[in-house]
Amino acid sequence: MSITYLEAIREAQARALAEDPRVFIYGQDVGAFGGAFKATKGLAQEFPGRVIDAPISEDAIVGLAVGAAIEGMRPIVEIQFADFSTVAFNQIVNQAATFFWRTNLPCPITVRLPCGGTLGSGPFHSQTMESVYAHYPGLIVLTPATVEDAYSMLLEAVAIDDPVIFCEHKLLYYHLKAETLPTEALPVGRARIAREGRHLTLVAYSAMVHEALAAADELKTEGWDIEVVDLRSVKPLDTDTVMASVARTGRLLCVGESWPWGGVTAEVITRVASEGFALLDAPPARLNAKDTPVPFHPNLWAAHRPTARSIAAAARKLLRQ
């Protein structure tokens, strides 16, 4: 048996629905149709009345989830593409994210955002939004890179008493496979050493972990041992694991698929530069997408996002310093 990243997301939701009567799913086309990506396939049939089709009203979708959470439910919201969460932005950052702080009561909603670039998807079906959401207090932002994490972190997201922005990467949906679902997992908030090495710490998250690993493979042939850290969660960010790795390697390259101004890579570098300055043997570096909307044509798209090749090139430069 083998299971894909997407199937893991479906299985996590099935299990959450089965084990906790407070869980329900709300989003466009998530019901009988099973969702635009089939992440809720069969769930409406299996859990009648608990997988609910929504009108094209993202603001009201998230607003409803907050109201249900206040009443003790554990809603999972599917936004059809992360890009469309901009029209639910207010309910996410001002309603859900501030609720606990204002009232001292939990607001356990999970917002699933199918994120990231895929071939030919263009400016409005390719965005990653983790950097924007992580800026706001009151949100937890998860970015699973593996089938195992997609499963275990989604289950944990539903169990967490706070609003969780669950960034699933569309590029991993069908191709990324594991043998089985995990029975145990690192908790949310802990990063993972995806590959050990001693010459450079390559920090990545979500789909970029796989580009980073491929870059590390490539550099291995040149004699470099690259340590790859998979952040798993960008808020909270596991500074300790990153710092410990940099302490071993002395060099930091941080990679993200988001835009270059601010965001995850700037946050990671700032933490290391502020708190681990003396650990660094060379300037910390970052590699992000280019500072334009995500292009439609595959030629442009491939050049817009970091790839194993551009990561390896950036790492090489840093290793030479």
């Binding site: 009108p55 249900a68 501030t98 937890i140 706070d162 708190e275």
Partner: protein, 352 residues
């Protein structure tokens, strides 16, 4: 027949509603005097931030609170002091939130009208207009999923809020789900300085009901009996399973947008029209006319209410305000997932 706080079948038999009317009046009076006090404190420079009052909207507002029951949901608008009190919000909640007392429900973190008690069904508003309606929907859907029946939710908004996308999405959502939502629109003719003519182009906001497939009810917001009857009826119909209800009350804001605002843009013609009547005065005259109260009892009530207000203010002014050093400064319920940002100020003892 659905049952309401004021059984509409018997409005002709006035004596039957005497109790409710008097109760409503006393609450309106309390709201009015409380807000007048807050406004005067504002003018004296004793408040943090703005003061937003509901002068002229108490009849509508109180009717909402009195028509709701324990277990119902209420998301008030900024001018719903009377409705909050009628729904059971303690008077002290208002005062404490204005003063930022740590004993208040918002503990100084949020202020003035931004307060609530979610566990009691009173939702604490965010400022963004229209944003609370979908939250009420969610609470109602939760009830349905949990198999709880017979509760309703009221979301109260102004004429200006009807122009928000949030209003539209949420009302449509309630209609699609056939939730027991009662959307009360207090059309006080202005949104801040903006008159209805620059806010919408339909003849009446009531014309919107049909486009959502919900039942619509119009009411003269200056007339307490009418408000009790119509709001009560709408809430009863939602409770009885007739789906979302829209109530449009016509009235006039008899104050500035906030107490900082002299509101000299308000059309004098409106002020002098029926809309411009003060619902509290109208109710007072009604009481006198029907012999349910006389000048003495009115004066006594006013005095007693004034005392209640003064006492509340005096009490809260002695209460502790928040201490930033005791404040936890965490925005998550899951404390273990909070990040500490002390590192921002480099610690001289740090090993770097």
């Amino acid at each position: 027949m659905v049952q309401t706080v004021l059984d509409s079948g018997r409005v002709s038999d006035l004596s039957a509603i005497r109790g409710v009317y008097l109760k409503a009046f006393r609450i309106m009076l309390l709201a009015r005097l409380l807000e007048e006090k807050l406004a005067s404190l504002y003018r004296a420079g004793k408040m943090h931030g703005g003061v937003f009052i509901g002068r002229g909207q108490e009849a509508l507002s109180v009717s909402i609170g009195l028509s709701l029951r324990e277990g119902d949901i209420f998301a008030p608008l900024i001018r719903d002091q009377a409705g909050r009190l009628a729904f059971g919000e303690p008077l002290l909640d208002a005062v404490r939130t204005y003063f930022g007392s740590v004993l208040g429900p918002m503990r100084g973190r949020d202020g003035n009208v931004h307060r609530g008690r979610p566990r009691q069904g009173l939702l604490p508003m965010i400022s963004h207009l229209g944003a609370m309606i979908a939250v009420v929907n969610g609470a109602l859907l939760a009830r349905r999923l949990k198999g709880i029946q017979g509760t309703v939710g009221v979301a109260s908004v102004g004429d200006g809020a009807t122009s928000t996308g949030a209003f539209h999405e949420a009302l449509n959502q309630a209609a699609v789900e056939r939730l027991p939502l009662v959307l009360v629109i207090a059309n006080n003719q202005y949104a801040y300085s903006t008159p209805n003519s620059r806010q919408f182009a339909c003849a009446s906001l009531l014309d919107r009901a049909r486009g959502y497939g919900v039942e619509g009810h119009g009411v003269d917001g200056t007339d307490l009996i009418e408000c009790l009857r119509v709001v009560g009826q709408a809430i009863a119909r939602a409770r009885a399973g007739h789906g979302p209800q829209m109530v449009v009350a016509e009235l006039l804001r008899l104050c500035g947008h906030g107490e900082h605002d002299p509101a000299d843009y308000v059309d004098p013609q409106l002020k002098n029209s029926r809309l411009g009547r003060d619902c509290l005065k109208v109710a007072e005259e009604f009481l006198l006319e029907h012999g349910w109260a006389d000048a003495t009892s009115l004066a006594e009530w006013r005095e007693e209410t004034q005392r209640t207000v003064e006492e509340a203010i005096a009490q809260v002014q002695r209460e502790p305000t928040p201490d930033p050093f005791k404040e936890s400064w965490v925005a998550l319920s899951s404390r273990h997932l909070c990040e500490t940002h002390e590192e921002e100020v480099p610690n001289p003892g740090a090993d770097i």
